[in-house]
């Protein structure tokens, strides 16, 4: 049974794409066949982390939404970029990087129900164990759709007041959409904050489990943009944390 998992944050810059890529890598390392859909059509980014450059992009999610191709034709196998001898598979369904195509989406929009159908045929055709949806920040229609059809939602927030408010909004909407599993990841935690205390505060504020807390790290930022961190440093404590989160989400 394939799990659909949305990775969401209310604002941009929380490290959402990075987390998605790392979770996919950990799942593939467990032998899972994983699909990643970049629904952040307005500002795509996860392809950079997964090492897929524009020249090698045959089709994008945009082509499918404009009914130019089938959804499986947009899937790119990026397993080679999430580690060596990986038992599973990672497929990326990128969003178009062409400025014209981006503005067309913004101008015309697309049919969210088409997205839903696409997800399902992708799961069938690629025999996926997990489909990770890298959502657009905020709560637009396709994000709400992604959340609505997900078995699990991972919300990423930074410890600041704006993210706290936005996270509260998303959690409430997810509750109304009857999402079964909702986990929180507190990312980019400054050195001055105590992790245990922060975990307790966030959990008591939202009454939802915090699956992980990750400190802000310049090193991580630098490495993160160059590739999948957990593929390069599988024994690092942060990689282990991604592994635990991947298991929690697949449970």
């Amino acid at each position: 049974m394939c799990k659909i998992i949305s990775i969401h944050s209310f604002r941009g810059g929380t490290g959402k794409s990075n987390t998605t890529a790392n979770l996919a890598a950990m799942m593939a390392a467990m032998g899972k066949r994983v699909g990643i859909v970049d629904t952040d059509i307005q500002s795509p980014g996860i392809h950079v982390i997964l090492g897929l450059d524009e020249a090698h992009m045959k089709h994008s999610l945009n082509d499918y939404l404009w009914e130019k191709c089938a959804i499986e034709e947009t899937a790119h196998d990026v397993t080679a970029n999430v580690g060596t001898n990986v038992p599973g598979k990672v497929f990326l369904i990128p969003a178009s990087l062409k400025p014209g195509e981006i503005t067309r989406v913004l101008r015309e929009g697309y049919d969210p129900s088409l997205l839903n159908e696409g997800f399902h045929s992708l799961i069938d055709k690629l025999e996926l164990d997990a489909l990770l949806i890298d959502t657009h920040p905020g709560v637009n229609e396709e994000t709400l759709l992604s959340i609505a059809i997900s078995d699990a939602v991972l919300i990423i927030l930074r410890p600041d007041q704006q993210d706290y408010l936005g996270t509260g909004v998303t959690i409430e909407l997810a509750r109304r959409l009857k999402v079964q599993k909702l986990l929180l990841l507190v990312n980019k935690v400054p050195e001055s904050m105590d992790l245990a205390q922060l975990k307790e505060k966030v959990e008591s504020a939202y009454q939802r489990p915090v699956a992980g807390l990750i400190r802000h790290s310049e090193e991580m930022m630098l490495l993160g943009s160059m590739g999948v961190f957990s593929a390069r440093y599988p024994d690092h404590v942060i990689s282990k944390l991604y592994g635990q989160m991947a298991e929690l989400l697949l449970e």
């Binding site: 049974m1 659909i4 839903n116 399902h120 799961i123 709560v139 229609e141 709400l144 759709l145 609505a148 059809i149 078995d151 410890p159 007041q161 706290y164 408010l165 509260g168 909004v169 409430e172 909407l173 109304r176 959409l177 009857k178 001055s192 904050m193 105590d194 205390q197 922060l198 505060k201 966030v202 504020a205």
Partner: protein, 349 residues
């Protein structure tokens, strides 16, 4: 008459008596034989006896007093009343008594300081553990007053906007205690550390002290022309107090930055209660060092606590509800809500 002169007089008298005695003996023994010798000897002996009593009264009585004074000094209860009548004497005994009294008082002072100094370390430990900021501030002033026998004491703290804020004010003889744990705030206005042109404020003693980081000691505030003491004068007029001797000290953190100013007023002679100038005092120096450390540690801890407080998650629930409602009331969301379960079920089947 000096002691030496008295003794010389005594010897002269004795010699005179002896000569007179010998003369008497020679007259009496001329006709009386042995009886005359006996009488003459009796006269001489009684004279010597009288002299002995006189000498012992002159020497022994003061010695007894000195002994008592030494004993009281040893147990730390020396009081100059013990030597009272000796101190007024003009002779060597009187001079000795004066010297002894001076030494004894010096020893007493040193003794008292030693005791205070011993109390400083436990005080420092207590202050560094003090969780109640008001009590911490109050204790600093009370202890500084105790060490210097100051009738009044005040504490200012430097604020973030570069002002000195009155936080503690105590005056024993006016029975006045403001700030700290008293619950009564000090209503006196804050002292700016820079004037409107941005120049350092050297007008007030406290601000001068805070700006320069230097101590200021004044024997009589009313004779100084260096500082603006209008505030003090107004206070004195209002309360009938007389502010005289001042000692104003900066409290600095480990980096040497002034964090507050401690001001002591009217040091009192422990015995006479007269107002005297403040003196250099190692114990006070130690107190200032220790209290500054405790104060800056508290301030540092406080800013850390503020940092931790940022962890406090305060979601504006009204705002959150508004945002949620805006979305939840849309047709799209309502539709999605009814479809969501169906979509998930369809997939699972």
């Amino acid at each position: 008459m000096s002691l030496r002169n008295r003794l010389l007089l005594l010897i002269a008298l004795l010699l005179g008596a002896a000569v007179f005695g010998t003369y008497l003996v020679s007259i009496l023994t001329a006709g009386q034989g042995a009886l005359g010798v006996v009488i003459a000897l009796l006269i001489v002996l009684s004279g010597a006896g009288l002299a002995f009593v006189f000498v012992s009264r002159m020497i022994n009585a003061p010695l007894e007093k000195f002994r008592a004074a030494v004993a009281s000094l040893q147990v730390g209860v020396y009081h100059r009343e013990l030597l009272y009548d000796l101190l007024t004497r003009n002779d060597e005994i009187g001079q000795l008594a004066l010297t002894f009294d001076r030494m004894a008082r010096e020893v007493s002072t040193r003794d008292r300081r030693l005791k205070s100094l011993r109390g400083i370390i436990p005080l420092g430990v207590a202050l560094s553990a003090e969780k109640d900021f008001s009590r911490l501030l109050e204790t600093i002033v009370i202890e500084a007053q105790r060490i210097t026998s100051a009738d009044a004491g005040s504490l200012y703290l430097k604020t973030e906007d570069n002002q000195l804020k009155f936080v503690i004010m105590r005056n024993e003889s006016l029975r006045m205690a403001l700030g700290g744990t008293t619950g009564k705030a000090v209503s006196l206005r804050t002292v700016p550390l820079v004037d409107e042109q941005g120049n350092p404020n050297h007008n007030h003693i406290a601000s001068y002290c805070a700006v320069t980081g230097k101590r200021v000691a004044l024997a009589d505030a009313y004779t100084t022309t260096e500082f603006d003491l209008s505030g003090t004068r107004a206070f004195d007029v209002e309360t009938g107090y007389h502010s005289q001797s001042f000692l104003t000290m900066p409290l600095k953190d480990l980096a040497g930055e002034v964090i507050g100013v401690l001001q002591l007023i009217n040091a009192q002679d422990p015995e006479t209660q007269q107002v005297v100038p403040f003196e250099e005092d190692e114990v006070l120096d130690s107190l200032v060092l220790i209290t500054s450390a405790a104060l800056s540690a508290y301030i540092r801890e406080e800013s850390l606590r503020e940092e931790i407080n940022k962890l406090r998650i305060e979601v504006d629930l009204a705002k959150q509800k508004k945002q949620v409602d805006e979305i939840a009331e849309s047709d799209y969301f309502k539709n999605l809500q009814s479809q969501a379960e169906l979509m998930r079920k369809k997939r699972k089947s």
